[in-house]
């Protein structure tokens, strides 16, 4: 059995300096919330219009609750975006997120099976993109990072691909020698 003390020069993930998301990431998150709340409010308005009994009972509460909910979601996205960050190290990529449960996920580049860059209409308009990195075994992406600039996503993809290429070449050389 080994102990902590035996290894002194272990690279520590605690010392990773995370880069914040792009400037427009907050705007993107808030626009996404609005895209949910606008149809939601329209549906509620329609229900109140066609069902006067429901309107008489719930209109007052809804007029307070819905703006409050929107405000809370906006505040949530402010904190959520502030707490997110990504970092690229020589051999792995790290991403932190979460308000209540703060998570730091680190994915070794040698374990990346494939990478996807996603860009929705709002992301395209704001020059943003989402990056998904997949490894073996997981049901969905192991790392999913939204709110990065498209340029940064492409750079990360290039870095990961060249890392994998280098590794494959070194494996081939090792087997030939």
């Amino acid at each position: 059995m080994f102990t902590n003390q035996q290894i002194t020069d272990l690279p520590q993930h605690k010392s990773i300096v995370f880069e914040p998301l792009a400037d427009k990431a907050l705007l993107h998150a808030q626009l996404n919330w609005l895209l949910f709340f606008i149809p939601f409010s329209l549906v509620l308005t329609a229900v109140c219009y066609f069902n006067p009994d429901f309107a008489a009972m719930a209109q007052g509460y809804l007029l307070v609750a819905v703006p409050l909910l929107i405000l809370l979601c906006m505040l949530y996205s402010v904190f959520s975006i502030k707490l997110q960050g990504s970092a690229l190290r020589t051999h792995d990529i790290a991403f932190k997120k979460g308000i209540i449960w703060q998570q730091v996920t680190i994915l070794p580049l040698a374990r990346v099976q494939h990478i996807e860059i996603h860009r929705g209409p709002i992301e395209r308009k704001l020059g943003l993109a989402s990056l998904r990195l997949y490894s073996a075994g997981g049901m969905s992406a192991d790392l999913q990072m939204s709110g990065l600039t498209h340029e940064k996503c492409k750079n990360i993809r290039q870095f990961v691909q060249s890392y994998r290429h280098d590794e494959t070449s070194s494996e081939v050389l090792a087997s030939e020698s």
């Binding site: 690279p11 490894s135 087997s175």
Partner: protein, 516 residues
């Protein structure tokens, strides 16, 4: 090479046909596929048939004959178009398909296992199915049906010899060393009486019930009409229990259904693991089992992503364990890998047998002697509040409003608190170093127990999770994603959790061995 396949000359590639007996395999294969996938899609037609058609017997027979004739014609055409070829570039090529022609190319380097299955209908002819398992993908699985056993075994040797050549130098050296230290063959045979116990332990009964889930409503109506009223009548007439006859009828039916489910489960276990034989030599498993189809599975220990040793509630009563050797499952979970037959299952083992198998693969592993490091007390406090205290208080209020005895809530609290405590004391982890290799064992459970053993370098990613209160108390949970499943250790001291994450990453990033 002794081929039981007709050679077809071709200027470039040597395409071969499989034996005509393979037609039986195709008939069985497409029949099963039709029942599994096709029947559900035909449900609307079935509904129209039941509700609209008057002469059901006649038209039912016509439909059956048409379906059977179509199946045979389709299988014959499929057999005619089925060709395979082993190229000089070390690939298996398959040409198949009736309406849509398909060409499947599978490189030897991507083949994980070559399994040999001996279905009961091939036994008199001495033929087998040779199955090439690609890394985690069912779509890429190639099956050569109705080839001779010798040919299948030669193919297996051929593929593994090629793969051994292609391995990086470190692995070749490792393999060479293992050849020098030629191990004696270890074996394990499980009697069928024990296999039947697996039916009681496993959830196969639920799987059997899940298979009939789409027809559940119809089944319940049918049961009500056919049985409940009759059993009710029996109780009323024979035993004179007029008042409780309906209740007794339902209870009798439920007990009968449970017995049927258990019987089904035991039968399925016997079909799957009949005459179970396991061999282990030179870091390779070979398992032969099955009633209708003798399935031969071979698996290299290096391909195993994690080993799970588990004992559920029923297994604890029977004092038995199940061991699973999990392989990589691309884009899916471990349960998917299990479905794809990529998991080696050692179904019903006694404690001594588990220790024996562990001696073959990990001689250091002894669940009783390992000094597991426990998780922090904070987990117990948190779970006690969330999973014992709060539900009990809520039930206390409910009891009060329903004017029932509040002591029931106290009993509920004691039960939940015991379960929470049992779950807490089960959690633990152990790190081990053996010959320069680093292993981790994670233990969890409640009444039963579950161990996951894996080499740290096989980790796919590592994650640390903490809440505000955990950070204030200097605690962190760790999750290590593996190519088959994952290991979660909650509420560790922050520096221990950080060490596990950092050390796992260092292993995954610096070890030159291939994780696959």
């Amino acid at each position: 090479m002794n081929l039981d396949a007709e050679q077809i000359t071709s200027p470039s590639l040597n395409w071969q046909k499989v034996s005509p007996w393979a037609l039986v395999y195709f008939v069985m294969y497409f029949s099963v596929r039709f029942i599994k996938d096709g029947l559900f899609n035909l449900l609307p037609v079935l509904v129209v048939f039941v509700t609209q058609v008057e002469n059901k017997l006649f038209w039912g027979q016509v439909a059956l004959v048409v379906a059977l004739v179509s199946l045979f014609i389709y299988c014959f055409l499929y057999y005619r178009s089925f060709r395979f070829c082993i190229t000089d570039e070390h690939e298996i090529l398959l040409n198949k398909g009736v309406f849509k022609k398909e060409r499947l190319t599978l490189k030897f380097s991507r083949v994980q296992n070559v399994n040999i299955a001996e279905p009961f209908y091939f036994t008199p002819m001495g033929l087998v199915n040779c199955i090439f398992d690609a890394a985690g993908s069912v779509a890429q699985e190639a099956v050569l049906p109705g080839v001779t056993k010798d040919y299948a075994q030669q193919m297996r040797k051929h593929v593994f010899a090629y793969k051994a050549q292609q391995q990086p130098s470190a692995e070749v050296a490792d393999t060479a060393q293992s050849h020098i230290e030629e191990q004696s063959e270890n074996s394990l045979f499980i009697p069928n009486k024990e296999i039947a116990k697996f039916g009681l332990m496993s959830n196969m009964a639920i799987l059997a019930l899940a298979a009939i889930a789409p027809f559940m409503n119809v089944a319940i109506d049918f049961l009500e009409q056919q049985f409940i009223t009759k059993i009710e009548g029996f109780y009323q007439q024979e035993l004179g229990m007029v008042a409780n006859a309906a209740v007794f009828a339902v209870i009798t039916l439920i007990i009968a259904l449970v017995f049927i489910a258990v019987f089904l489960s035991v039968t399925m276990s016997l079909i799957r693991f009949y005459n179970y034989q396991l061999y282990f030599k030179n870091k390779k498993f070979k398992r032969i089992a099955g009633l209708l189809e003798r399935h031969q599975l071979s698996m290299s220990l290096d391909k195993v992503q994690s080993i799970v040793i588990k004992q559920n509630l029923v297994a604890r009563l029977l004092q038995r364990f199940t061991v699973e050797c999990l392989q990589a499952s691309s884009g899916g979970t471990a349960s998917m890998a299990k479905k794809n037959k990529q998991t080696l299952v050692l179904p019903v083992l006694t404690q001594e047998q588990v220790d024996g198998v562990c001696q073959w693969i990990y001689p250091w592993f002894n669940s009783k002697k390992l000094a597991f490091k426990k998780v922090e007390w904070a987990l117990l406090y948190k779970n006690m509040v969330f999973y014992a205290l709060l539900p009990s208080v809520a039930s206390g209020f409910l009891m009060h409003f329903m004017q029932l005895n509040v002591l029931i809530s106290l009993a509920l609290f004691l039960l939940l608190a015991t379960l929470v405590f049992l779950s807490y004391i089960r959690y633990g982890y152990y790190l081990h170093q053996q010959d320069g290799r680093f292993y981790m064992v994670v233990r969890k459970g409640m009444i039963g127990v579950h161990y996951r053993v894996f080499e740290l370098y096989k980790a796919q990613s590592a994650r640390g999770v903490s809440t505000y209160f955990m950070r204030r108390s200097g605690l962190k949970s760790v999750y290590i994603q593996l190519a088959a499943g994952g290991a979660f250790v909650p509420y560790l001291k922050q520096h221990d959790a950080d060490f596990i994450i950092d050390f796992t990453l260092m292993q995954a990033e610096s070890d030159p061995r291939s994780w696959m």
